[in-house]
Amino acid sequence: MTILDFSRLSATALAAKISGGSVSPADAVDASIACAKQAGAGADSLNIYLWTDDNLARREAQSLAEGMKRAGKGGRLAGIPMAVKDNIATLGLPTTCASKLLAGYISPYEATAITRLRQEGAIVVAKTNMDEFAMGSSTENSAYGPARNPLDVRRVPGGSSGGSAAAVAAGIVPLALGSETGGSVRQPAAFCGVVGVKPTYGRVSRHGLVAFASSLDQIGPLARNVDDAALATEIISGVDPNDSTSSSRKVGSYRDQYLSLASSPRPLDGMTVGVPEEYFPEELDPGIRSLCERSIDTLKSLGAKVIDVQLPNTRLAIPVYYIVAPAEASSNLARFDGVRFGARAKSSSLREMYADTRSSGFGPEVTRRILLGTYVLSAGYYDAYYKKAQAVRGLITRDFRDVFGKGIDVLFTPTTPTTAFPVGAISDPYQMYLSDIFTATSNLAGVPAMSLPIGRVAGLPVGGQIIASHFCESTMFRVAYALEAALGGEAHQ
């Protein structure tokens, strides 16, 4: 067996080795299995895996190797071990959303994003821990216990895609899938020191993603570097007849633009980066502010023009998000009634069965959000809460259109207001919701955004966020790639 060091090898580099024949898919899978054991991915340690089947992964690797031999070539992710958030349907494998309600549920179909990654040679080696039904910012709201940050096990990995971010950060897999509703890929990416992407709403099919808030949800990749994240985004993007909100816009090569500029000393010449003042409040952690300022200076040195901009309705994003998302969740989660999915309580009447199943199956945060969502949609409160929130959401969207309409190519902000906090440190629900304060705006407006490591404060990773206009992923990756290359090792110091 070839010993592989996933903490150094990127997905693209590993896929090249596998396609070239110097490493086999089985080697890659075996290395991932060994890393998972060494890092403690299981419930008795980091608790970042909810499901794994080593033998199944090895059989898939063998089958892939035979297919590659017949075809004489491998896909762009040939033999890459991949971890998948447990709210993304994987054919024949469990999909529990980290909820007791879906314990034992085996998905009879597969998410389009998974199918596309598998077609390129990726191998699903694990389903990862998450906040139940993606409701949370710390992966503490899992029915299977909290996940831990591999960089400091006393701290959370962020959430809700905390298990996926931690699996990449721990070097177990070079690539993972998560999902976003209000920052659930970018925030854990920032907390774990990896790259996380939320594509434009409609860019990636939601088919097979268990619905939380359908007007906000998007699947996104987590990777160790920008190039891997761009490749994975490119592969999973594109129209899908199974998702009527997926866009038919052509997906170009996200990598071509930045790779063609890789040798340029000023790869961002001609670009304008906006820095919104609302994302740098007085109370922002000074260490995070300082690292953002260093990144802004770096962007200037790469040729970008940097100007201050305003997104005046940013402060309203959390109130809007925590009305819209629970409202949609209360509707989407109505399907979990004990009839069609997962567990069913034994009761004497149909109504009791519904209530008993849901009450025993959902955890406290999911229950709270369903109640909140039902309340803001109920007669007498709909106009004051839900309708008003949707109108303010329109103002937030207009803020983005205004700045991008004035020649701004991308925005640069911190991803999170703090670094990873200790497990159990935040008990007030609203304080936890504020973790999403810099990320939820992009979901509400539907624009693409990503987080990449820009340094560390007291040893903990800090994420810088790049936000682009609708369907301008290429521009976003161009800036991220240049910044990552310029920061080099400083991004992880």
């Binding site: 004497s348 519904y354 209530a355 008003k388």
Partner: protein, 106 residues
């Protein structure tokens, strides 16, 4: 618009959730604690925003497609989705009288 225990009971009924009586008062406090932060929205002037025109985010509208396509192709036969089938229908446990469930489902 403070939430009361009666509101929580009513909303729980609408949401088909049973709420432990001991959780009622904490839930009232939690929901009020959250909703007080939402009050800021009532002071925002939204007259410039017309209905839902800006809500669905992508620049393009949701595409309309022909109704002519047939049912989507399934990845595996529908028989694989349920414990058993009879005359083309899924056989599932009876809902209201679970004691009889074993009579009708495996």
């Amino acid at each position: 618009m403070a939430v009361t225990q009666d509101d929580v009971r009513q909303v729980a009924e609408l949401a088909r959730l049973g709420v432990d009586p001991a959780r009622l008062e904490p839930l009232v406090a939690e929901l009020n604690g959250i909703l007080q932060h939402m009050e800021v929205l009532s002071n925002v002037d939204t007259t410039a925003i017309e209905g839902a025109t800006l809500i669905n985010q992508p620049i393009e509208s949701t595409p309309l497609r022909s109704d002519s396509d047939g049912p989507l192709k399934m990845m595996s036969p529908k028989e694989s989705f349920a414990p058993s089938m009879k005359d083309g229908f899924f056989i599932v446990p009876r809902l209201a009288t679970h004691e009889d469930a074993t009579d009708s489902a495996p």
